[in-house]
Amino acid sequence: MNGDPMSSDSAHFTVLQRALHWLMAIGILAMLFIGVGMVSTVAPKYLPLVETHKTLGIAILVLALFRLAVRFIYGSPPLPASMPAPMKLAAHLSHYGLYALMIGMPLIGWAMLSAGAYPVVLYGGIRLPAILPQSDQLHALLWQAHVYLAFAFFALILMHLAAGLFHALIRRDGVFESMSPLPAGTRPETTPAE
């Protein structure tokens, strides 16, 4: 599935995929911390936090859709044959969950504001249309989904981080290196002979 201009080799995600992964890791972590922080304060910072949350959320939605397309085109390196089947299943399921949340959470937030008859205004005065009509019941459902899924998202990210470190430090099976922020080829054993 590999073989694109920016790629390295079949053991690694493409450079584009790794750049998206780490950029979005920063964005999503910031998003979750901003979200849980903004709903816990009445201080003046509440307003810029909410505006940043909305803007970053839409940015993450756009990046996640782009990343999903990139994933369909370039695929992913195979998991090592040494990985037990349940661990592979957990890896696959957690990645479905992460993609679902990366795309779903911004849509739920946008829909929640729409159902609450709020204007959706991003940084710089960018105005987005409502994607749902006003509805108390939908607003309530979407609000609760947004809150509970945010905690689930953060828990999933902690598990993902723990699993990544587990691969890097203990299994040492190349899974972490496949998404490593360092360019492929810095490791001596994978440096192509020139």
Binding site: F33, V39, I170, R172, R187
Partner: protein, 357 residues
């Protein structure tokens, strides 16, 4: 896939401890950011909970200013406000309005005369943008900061005999409000009340110049000031029936007066009125054309969050609009989640008890 040698079991245990530590730090930072480790932090849930009467909040209703009635109409802008702000609703024109007259009480069935503060929620729509505002009729706010407002609510609920005395000692701004509350007449109609922003906002004109502004909607109707007792004789729900009848007879009008701060005026403290003689601009007329019951009215589902502003108006250094936005959102989230408890009217088309043939 490049495989490295597996670590020794000792190193593996060390790595597991490291991973657990990373996860724990991440979870801890998240909990700290969310205030779960800081019970003293003033959060929107705490502030909103403090508004509730001793018997608990009225489920499905706004957590404050719970008694109200909807209206629609237009804002007829004369264009004078454009000197201060490029907001589209301050250019000459008629712009649709939805709003809500209300009483500052958490009890949706409180008798009118038991409530001292009256409010006006307003949304003006122009050019795809909205200007939402929630104003009240006192000339200034009781306290200077959101923290003091929370402390005031807490002192009001406190069983300590000295709680309010101690609060006043620490908040010398409060007695002025007490004096207003004790002496201001009760108007016989919402149409006779003046509603004030109290908070200062920054108006930005077409040239980019910023002006700190507070505003008022001044009634065109001739006021009939009453004592509290005389007002109480009009009945527990007089204000809603009266405004519905009055508007059915003729549209009611308020003039939007923008007051511009001079350097040094206290923009950050709504408990301090600005001195007399400030430049004012009459920007247009609010025309209330139709009054509707809240239950199926157009204002019911609107959060009159005063930070939902058009281009050309933004918050100032006044800390209240942000706190109000946070608290109003909490109130909106709660009441929409309690939709089962709200007394919606029977949906149109739901037949009344069918007669048995």
């Amino acid at each position: 896939m490049a495989q490295s040698p597996r670590p020794t079991s000792r190193a593996a245990i060390g790595s597991l401890v490291l991973i657990a530590g990373v996860v724990a730090v991440g979870a801890g930072a998240f909990a700290y950011t969310g205030g779960f480790l800081s019970p003293e932090r003033l959060t929107p849930p705490k502030l909103v909970a403090a508004l509730a009467p001793p018997g608990g909040p009225a489920l499905g209703h706004r957590r404050n200013h719970a008694k109200g009635i909807c209206f629609t109409g237009v804002f007829r802008s004369n264009g004078q406000g454009a000197a201060l702000s490029r907001a589209p609703m301050l250019a000459v024109g008629d712009y649709p309005v939805v709003g809500r007259f209300n009483l500052g009480t958490p009890d949706p069935s409180a008798p009118d005369a038991t409530v001292r503060v009256r409010g006006l929620g307003l949304q003006i729509t122009a050019g795809g943008q909205v200007w939402r505002a929630a104003m009240i009729d006192p000339p200034f706010f009781p306290v200077a900061t959101p923290d003091a407002f929370y402390a005031l609510l807490e002192a009001g609920h406190s069983k300590q005999p000295d709680a309010m005395k101690n609060f006043v000692a620490a908040h010398p701004e409060l007695p002025a409000f007490g004096a207003w509350a004790g002496s201001a007449p009760y108007m016989a109609s919402y149409a006779e009340d003046q509603f004030n922003s109290l908070n200062a906002f920054i108006f930005t004109d077409a040239a980019g110049a910023a002006h700190a502004v507070r505003w008022s909607y001044k009634p065109e109707a001739q006021p009939q000031p009453l004592s509290k007792d005389d007002f109480a004789k009009l009945g527990p729900d007089h204000l809603e029936t009266e405004i519905a009848e009055r508007v059915a007879g003729a549209p009611q009008r308020w003039t939007l007066v923008l007051t511009v701060a001079e350097p040094g005026d206290p923009t950050a403290d709504p408990s301090k009125a600005w001195p007399e003689g400030r430049r004012t601009v009459e920007a247009g007329t609010l025309v209330v054309e139709k009054v509707e019951d809240e239950r199926d009215g157009p204002c019911r589902d609107i959060n009159f969050d005063p930070t939902l502003l058009p281009d050309g108006i933004s918050v100032s250094d006044d800390p209240f609009p942000a706190a109000r936005s946070a608290a109003y959102a909490r109130s909106y989230n709660l009441r929409t989640a309690e939709w089962k408890d709200y007394p919606y009217q029977a949906p149109a088309g739901a037949a009344p008890q069918a007669k048995q043939p």
